[in-house]
Structure formats: structure tokens, C-alpha cells
């Protein structure tokens, strides 16, 4: 999933540099990457939202 996210970010950066008129598409790709980040973080930490510190 990390690889997929970085592919999306790479495409987003390409659009920013070479197709800046496609702002909505670029921001959509940013949103997709963020969605995967948040989603995968919660998948990875689903067993516990907090670590095992002394609360």
C-alpha cells in the first residue's frame, strides 16, 4: 500500500509541475493519498488506538 500511495503522490507532483491547469485532479490525487494514509494507519493500529503507555 505504501508503494501505491507513493505512485499516486508521484503522479500528483507531475501534474503540479507539468499540467498545473489540472489542479482539481492533482488535489484529488492528494486527497486519495491522504485517504490511504489515514486508512492504513488505522488498519495498522486497529488493535489499539493508543500505544501501551501509562495513561
Amino acid at each position: 500500500m505504501e508503494f501505491l500511495t507513493l505512485v499516486i503522490i508521484t503522479i500528483c507532483m507531475y501534474l503540479l509541475m507539468f499540467k498545473p491547469e489540472r489542479e482539481k485532479l492533482a488535489f484529488g490525487m492528494f486527497g486519495a493519498a491522504t485517504f490511504i494514509l489515514v486508512g492504513m494507519w488505522f488498519v495498522t493500529t486497529f488493535g489499539s488506538i493508543f500505544g501501551n503507555g501509562n495513561y
Partner: protein, 521 residues
């Protein structure tokens, strides 16, 4: 506008900021740790790194289209999430000993800790950028949506962009080789960075998806210990025959007496201890009030510590005499002590330490100033029982002993021994039966639930309410040498011992009871 807070300078500072987050932390992690040290991020580190890349990416959006509200807002949202990620990750290791943790250090701090620092810095820097936006008409127009233009990158901006672009691609290569393509994902512990695809592809894993099978708020956190009326977390099987032992001598109740002493708070008395020298009982509430009595009805000597302030005790659960001084622990193994005084206390010290007192006791642990500082309320920290509470406590002249209440995280009963003078652990073990003690087939001592303990000679007597069993444990080896069947009582908890009797607290219809039980040795 002549102010230096203008659009041109904003873009220069923004490009620098992108470089500081994307090129430096992400670059060091990817190039130095990845390709030189050959360390790859663990499952959580990857997403912390990805968040930094996304913050940098938002910087390029701001350079390209201006500081529009949605970009600025997104920076704060990702930074807030990043701080959570860093602290959550640090929480996995924060309880370990010095320098223990996952992966390499950068300037003495591990990468997951750096994550929290970096995102915290992002919040501060982005907040300062708002000053630029306020002082520049052009930036203000971008921010409020009155202007919508595509801006060219400056020369410096292009350099930062291409370096960042290369780093993102490089991170993609690292992610592909170490973690693979979907649905493969993060690893923890992580594998080393390798470009040996035939071999590394055999290590690709999907195990993180298994985590969706269970959910909890806190990791490895035990249920509260059973305290009647406060934490009713357990139902007991009080039948001795259901336990691990075939048979044992059954002890008899000699008498049952009602205790007339009222606690400072709460109806139920938490703990009892017996001072053989003065032939005196000490009764302690769940809220730090201790009362000394000989007749069970009048307490001429007492001390109620300032329970609310200073180190948290949870609820006080157990007590033990060491000589004429009384030691007390809370459920979380935080302790305090009452030292019998030769002369009255200073009134200021008395005010600071106690809510109420007869003037007979000061702080046991405090060496110089008689008040409850960190020294006055030591943490009895353990290793095996770190994630377990304690309802049982004993002491002799030199040592104090805690007995843990087993739970879903710590499944064994742990005895921990502390040198009183140091307040530090001396030894510790899971209780196990001695070789002379026969257990039923496939049974062990894990399901015993110790609610009271007392030291008697070279033994720790531990009373398990589960299976109504008295375990006699060697003070040095922590082996269970003998067991006895305890009689059935009403809400039994806490244990004290005199020369010829055992004492157990009971509770029925709002009344505190003291069971006197024959002593088998």
C-alpha cells in the same frame, strides 16, 4: 506593500520550509537510513514518513496556486494527525528501559519520536505563515478565494521540487522492494533495505490486515482489579475442589466480629494488618485513611493522607506492618507509609501531608521533609507485573512484597520483593508449586486470584478468593510450599496474621466483618 511579509518572500520561505520537511527528514530517512545504513521503515514509520511527504506536497500546491484555505487547512489537519502518529508510535516503547526501541537513532532520538517533533514544528511554522497571508494583498486574495491563478515556480522552487520529486520516486522504489505491491503492506519489525527482488519479494507480508479482526482503545491494558462495589470485574468460583489441588487441610472460622470503626470515605474497609508487638489492628479505607485499634470499635490513633493530591494511588488496597510502622499500597502499586512518631509533628507538615490525623504518625518513606513528594510515595515498579494491579501486600523488617492480581494481559500471579530502604525491586517471579506439591493434571496456578497477603516467618501467606485457597509461599524462592482450604466467608478480602490466628475482612449488608480463622502452623 513595503513589508518583508510579501508574496515573493513568502514563496521563498515556503520553498525553504518544503525543503526542511521533505528533503531533510524524509531525505535522510530514505537515502541515509535506506540506501546507506540499509534500514527500512516499519509499518507505522512508513505512514509517518508519508504524512511528511504530503505536507511537503501541500507546500507545492501553495507555491503553485497560492495559500488557499483548503491547502492551509490540510496542512494543519495532517500535522495534527502526524502528532497523533508520532505519540502513538512512541507509546509502544515509552515504558521500556533506557535506549530500548525500534530502529536507528538520529541525533539520539529514534525516527518515530522525530515524527512527533516534526509535525509539531509544522504547526508552528504554518501558524507563522499566516502572518504573511494577513500582510499581503495577493496572498489574502488567494486565501479568501478572490484570486485564482497559476504561479510559476521560482528557480529555487524548481530545485526544491526536482529534489523532492527524486526523493518521492526513491521512496517509491524503497517501498516496492521492501513492502511490495498491494495488498502487501508494512512490516514490524522491519526488514533491511535490499534491491534483491527475488529474495526480498519472498518476505512481502499481508499480516497487518489481520489486525482488523480485533479492536481496542488501549494496547495491552488490563481490566481493573476486583474491588467490591468499585470494580466488580470478576465472579468467583469459591469451591476449593474446583482448583488445581486435590485436597488440603480445611481451616475453620473461630469467630466473626463486626468492626465498628467508620472509614473516612466509602463503607467498606479495604485492608487489615496486625501488629504483634502492640497487639493492635490497622484498618485502612480505599481512600487513604488508616485507623489503629485494639477493640475494633474505637480508634484513638489515625491518619488520613491527602489522598487526592500527589502521586495517584488508584484506591488503596493493602497494608502491612514493618515493626510498628504501617506501609500502604494503592491498586497501582504506588506506596506510602506511616511512621510512628516519638513527638508531635510540626503543624505545617501535618497540614501538608494529612487531611486529618491524631498526630501519632508521619511519613515513613520521606527522609528529610515530612511530606508526600515522589520520595514519600514511591512507585513499586515491577517487570513481570507491570501490566497488573495488586490487591495483596506483605512486609517484614527489611522487605515488602506485592502479589499481583492476574488479568487478561498478565496471566500469571507475580510476587515482587522490594528492599524497603531502597524502595526498589530485589527479586520477582511467577508463583509456581514446589516439586512436593501435587497439582491436578493440566492445571496450574494462573487462575488463582490473590486478594490478601501477609508475611509470617519465612512464608508469604497469599489468600486466593478464587477456589478459597491459602497459598503458603517461600519468601525467597517464591515457590508455593503448602496450600490450605479456607472457609467460605462473605465478600472476603485482605489478610492479616498474628501469632496464633489468621484474620480476613468480610463485608455483608453494609457492615464490615473480621473473620478469625485458625492458623494451621
Amino acid at each position: 506593500m513595503n513589508s518583508c511579509l510579501n508574496e515573493k518572500n513568502f514563496n521563498l520561505v515556503m520553498a525553504t520550509a518544503i525543503m526542511l520537511i521533505l528533503v531533510i527528514p524524509v531525505g535522510i530517512a530514505n537515502v541515509w537510513l535506506g540506501y546507506v545504513v540499509r534500514e527500512s521503515p516499519c509499518a507505522l514509520c512508513w505512514w509517518e514518513r508519508m504524512g511528511m511527504i504530503l505536507v511537503g506536497l501541500l507546500g507545492f500546491f501553495i507555491l503553485r496556486y497560492g495559500p488557499r484555505l483548503k491547502y492551509v487547512m490540510s496542512v494543519f489537519l495532517i500535522a495534527a494527525f502526524g502528532i497523533h502518529m508520532g505519540l502513538r508510535h512512541l507509546g509502544n516503547f515509552v515504558q521500556l528501559d533506557v535506549d530500548m526501541g525500534l530502529g536507528a537513532e538520529i541525533m539520539g532520538i529514534r525516527t518515530y519520536t522525530w515524527a512527533a517533533i516534526v509535525y509539531w514544528a509544522v504547526v508552528i511554522v504554518m501558524s507563522l505563515f499566516l502572518m504573511f497571508i494577513k500582510r499581503s494583498e495577493e496572498l489574502n486574495a488567494d486565501f479568501t478565494g478572490q484570486r485564482s491563478v497559476i504561479k510559476p515556480f521560482s528557480k529555487f522552487g524548481k530545485i526544491v521540487f526536482y529534489v523532492s520529486f527524486a526523493l518521492v520516486i526513491s521512496n517509491g522504489i524503497q517501498a516496492f522492494f521492501t513492502n511490495g505491491i498491494p495488498p502487501y503492506g508494512g512490516k514490524a519489525p522491519n526488514d533491511r533495505m535490499s534491491l534483491n527482488l527475488p529474495m526480498i519479494s519472498k518476505t512481502w507480508e499481508t499480516y497487518i490486515w489481520d489486525r482488523l479482526k480485533s479492536f481496542s482503545i488501549k494496547k495491552d491494558y488490563p481490566e481493573k482489579p476486583y474491588i467490591h462495589g468499585i470494580f466488580n470485574t470478576k465472579k468467583f468460583n469459591e469451591n476449593f475442589a474446583s482448583g488445581a489441588f486435590e485436597e488440603a487441610k480445611k481451616l475453620q472460622i473461630l469467630s466473626v466480629k463486626e468492626i465498628g470503626i467508620k472509614m473516612n470515605k466509602g463503607k467498606m474497609i479495604a485492608a487489615v494488618s496486625y501488629d504483634n508487638k502492640n497487639e493492635e489492628f490497622a484498618f485502612t479505607s480505599h481512600y487513604g485513611g488508616s485507623y489503629f485499634t485494639k477493640d475494633l470499635n474505637t480508634a484513638s490513633k489515625f491518619a488520613v493522607v491527602d489522598y487526592q493530591n500527589s502521586w495517584n494511588l488508584g484506591h488503596t488496597t493493602a497494608t502491612a506492618f514493618t515493626g510498628e510502622n504501617l506501609l500502604v499500597i494503592g491498586q497501582n502499586k504506588t506506596a506510602y507509609g506511616l511512621r510512628k512518631l516519638e513527638k508531635p509533628m510540626d503543624e505545617v507538615i501535618q497540614y501538608r501531608t494529612f487531611l486529618e490525623t491524631s498526630g501519632d504518625y508521619g511519613s515513613f518513606f520521606e527522609k528529610n521533609v515530612d511530606r508526600y513528594t515522589k520520595d514519600g510515595r514511591p512507585f513499586l515498579t515491577t517487570i513481570r507485573a507491570k501490566q497488573a494491579y495488586a490487591l495483596a501486600f506483605g512486609a517484614d523488617e527489611k522487605f515488602m512484597y506485592t502479589v499481583s492480581a492476574a488479568n487478561r494481559v498478565v496471566k500469571n500471579v507475580v510476587v515482587s520483593k522490594f528492599l524497603i530502604s531502597e524502595r526498589k525491586m530485589s527479586s520477582e517471579a511467577y508463583i509456581k508449586p514446589s516439586k512436593d506439591l501435587k497439582l491436578k493434571e493440566k492445571r496450574n496456578l494462573k487462575d488463582y486470584y490473590v486478594v490478601g497477603a501477609a508475611v509470617d516467618g519465612d512464608r508469604i501467606l497469599a489468600y486466593s478468593r478464587e477456589y478459597s485457597t491459602l497459598l503458603s509461599i517461600d519468601k525467597n524462592s517464591f515457590e508455593v510450599k503448602d496450600v490450605y482450604e479456607m472457609p467460605l466467608m462473605k465478600e472476603p478480602h485482605s489478610l492479616a496474621v498474628s501469632k496464633d490466628k489468621l484474620y480476613v475482612l468480610g463485608f455483608e449488608h453494609g457492615k464490615n466483618l473480621l473473620y478469625e480463622i485458625e492458623k494451621p502452623f
